[in-house]
Symmetry: C2
Subunit: 405 residues, 2 copies
């Protein structure tokens, strides 16, 4: 390839890196490795036979639209099913508040497209979802991190950051949060903090991006209303959700819930990005929802993942060395928990040791836009079997013990 | 919605507009309108029953990967099928030269992401594909147009533009071309011009984006090699193709063929954009290709569309008024032809008149980034039936006659 081609690349792409997780995952392909690294749903939850049959039937019946180009907003009858999904989660919206996305990652990319100019400040958690960091980095955002504790993003710290920005005549384009069973930390934003967050957004004239891919996967504790619901659909909150964790990821289907005027902007962005989300994916999910299968299916997932979560918490209790610097979150839902080790740990350096012991994790540093996370890791409990969870945590504890001072 | 939210939007989205075509299409939904406006493949070509059966079988057999997250590059066995599709078109590439995209529109968006900084010059045709204009506008490209004639982009005009840019110490990030049966003009870039284009790209140290969604749909004349093939895979050409016109659009499946080093950059961009193209779409197309159905299916499409093309050319000969200012292109393939009217025509203004006569087209202005096209229109012949083509052209001729001076 002629060398001058390298000078043609954009600044944006030059600043972006390959996903650390996706690169790590390649190392975890060794057959004996028990991986807590991925974020994959368990294939045991995939309703393969039902989906195969429904795909056949819906293509026969709805082939006219399932095989043709579709509206950028999404297929009308599928958006109506999404309205019902939200209704079941005690949120009332109209079809016009819904835009179907090619899964939540596209939703994040669209948020970047619609809101971020180069060097615009945005608020994220420390830690935060790595896919959000890469999406927003693609628009050259300036990341400002706010610490999390067991109740989610610390709103007192957020207030002082917003005040500092305001003092310099700035405001963030948005506050990005994963309020339910956060990826990676597993913590849930309390009701009080949700109200605080909304109050702060209004006071400082910014909006909230409520990314909620795991919301329906609650195993314990009580449901907390969406920040979107607390806002009453006034336009201060944009919510992203996905079928990836409640049905299966291979559809690449998600949706944005927002004020109609904001949806209009997203439609313009999406027209240029992929015209529309695959109608064939939409048709299959539509048929599954229409037949009333989604609710019962989510219940089954909750039962399965709830057991896995418990197994991982039990295994951590059983095998982790007793050290004041070692602690972990107790997620009430979702797919992940966050294990913190003593300050002197470097889990990036420890990763190859873990692979030698046939266990894998994602290093905490992946989830910080601004450094941090060197002594923490994300552990996934949805993909491995209960037996693998027990054995994998045992292996991980062994590696950690070796590195304890 | 609080008014301050309007101040949060990015400059990029503020510059973008809703697709003119998509807005026009809404007007063409009246039941009696014969529309030459869309770019839709004929649903008569959709192999609905075969696809329904294959969807069922491939989900049962390959559910493990069809329902899970997939590699950003695309599913391995599907990329191998794409290598075979290119082989059938006399082009030899490796799997690593292929990246599966969520159809060609995403390919265009990714080209923007990977190459364009704000205000970077890029070369396009006058006219050019409207979806490329909106994708590249999303990255704030500076459009420089080069005229087309019956042999495609005029390379002498291109040379002088490149020289002018070089005099100002600039070069375009790329030259965007649809060499086969161009959308909207229907013209094909001659072999000689393809060689010229490649020579110019090398001389002025830029690359060529070869967008070729219609390449397999040739009804007459002789195949011309891809510019990619003329380059011998040296890295000076990036080729975009799609299943939308040769199988059906509802899959939203396309691919990029490029040098491995360039594919690597696209993978980074795509990770942030949607992680991967729906594996379930890939599985269905994979199964269709694997069974050897694609080749025969394309032959059927070519037979059907070839007849429709002839019908439209015949109808134009029969009904169009005899005026030296009225002429149209004679495409050897694809879905469109380009009708030029006398200079004093304003087809935007005439559009509502046409709708009253129950016929629709896309106004030429949609295909120019810099003005132009006021006296031209794009006519699609793939979607309407032969009867509709005959009657629609008759209606269109009537409207045009009324406006002749």
């Amino acid at each position: 390839m002629p060398a001058y081609i390298n000078d043609l690349y954009s600044e944006k792409i030059s600043k972006m890196k390959k996903s650390i997780i996706r690169e790590l995952l390649k190392l975890t392909q060794k057959p004996d490795v028990i991986s807590f690294a991925g974020g994959l749903p368990s294939p045991a939850t995939f309703p393969v036979e039902e989906i195969a049959e429904m795909a056949r039937e819906v293509i026969l019946k709805e082939g006219d639209w399932a095989l043709q180009y579709g509206a950028t907003e999404g297929i009308t009858q599928f958006r109506d099913e999404i309205v019902k999904i939200l209704k079941a989660d005690d949120l009332t919206v109209e079809r016009d508040n819904i835009l179907v996305t090619t899964a939540s990652q596209q939703g994040l990319d669209m948020v970047g497209r619609v809101f971020i100019n180069s060097n615009d400040p945005i608020i994220i958690g420390r830690p935060t979802y790595v896919g959000a960091i890469s999406a927003f980095r693609g628009y050259d955002a300036r990341f400002i991190g706010v610490s999390l504790d067991d109740h989610g993003m610390k709103t007192d710290e957020l207030r002082s950051i917003l005040e500092d920005l305001a003092a310099g005549n700035e405001r963030p384009k948005f506050i990005y949060t994963v309020p339910d069973f956060q990826n990676p930390a597993g913590v849930t934003l309390s009701l009080e903090r949700r109200k605080d967050l909304l109050k702060l957004a209004k006071e400082f004239k910014t909006i909230i991006i409520e990314d909620s891919p795991y919301r329906q996967l609650r195993y314990t504790g009580e449901h907390v209303p969406q920040i979107y619901k607390l806002d009453g659909g006034e336009g201060n909150v944009i919510m992203l959700q996905t079928f990836s964790k409640i049905l299966f990821p291979g559809l690449r289907l998600g949706w944005i819930t927002a004020h109609k005027d904001i949806i209009d902007k997203f439609v313009i962005a999406k027209q240029a990005m992929d015209l529309c989300t695959p109608p064939i994916s939409q048709s299959i999910a539509y048929e599954y929802c229409r037949r009333g299968e989604l609710g019962p299916h989510i219940k089954e997932n909750v039962a399965l993942y709830g057991k896995k979560r418990k197994k991982m918490l039990d295994a951590l209790d059983t095998y982790m060395p007793d050290d004041p610097g070692i602690h972990w979150t107790k997620p009430e839902g979702g797919l992940f928990l966050w294990l913190t080790l003593p300050d002197y740990f470097d889990v990036d350096a420890m990763f190859m040791e873990a692979i030698e012991e046939n266990v894998a994790y994602v290093t905490g540093t992946a989830f910080y836009a601004d450094g941090g996370g060197k002594n923490a890791m994300r552990l996934n409990f949805s993909y491995p079997t209960e037996e693998q969870i027990d054995q994998g945590i045992q292996r991980l504890a062994k590696v950690i013990k070796k590195n304890l001072k």
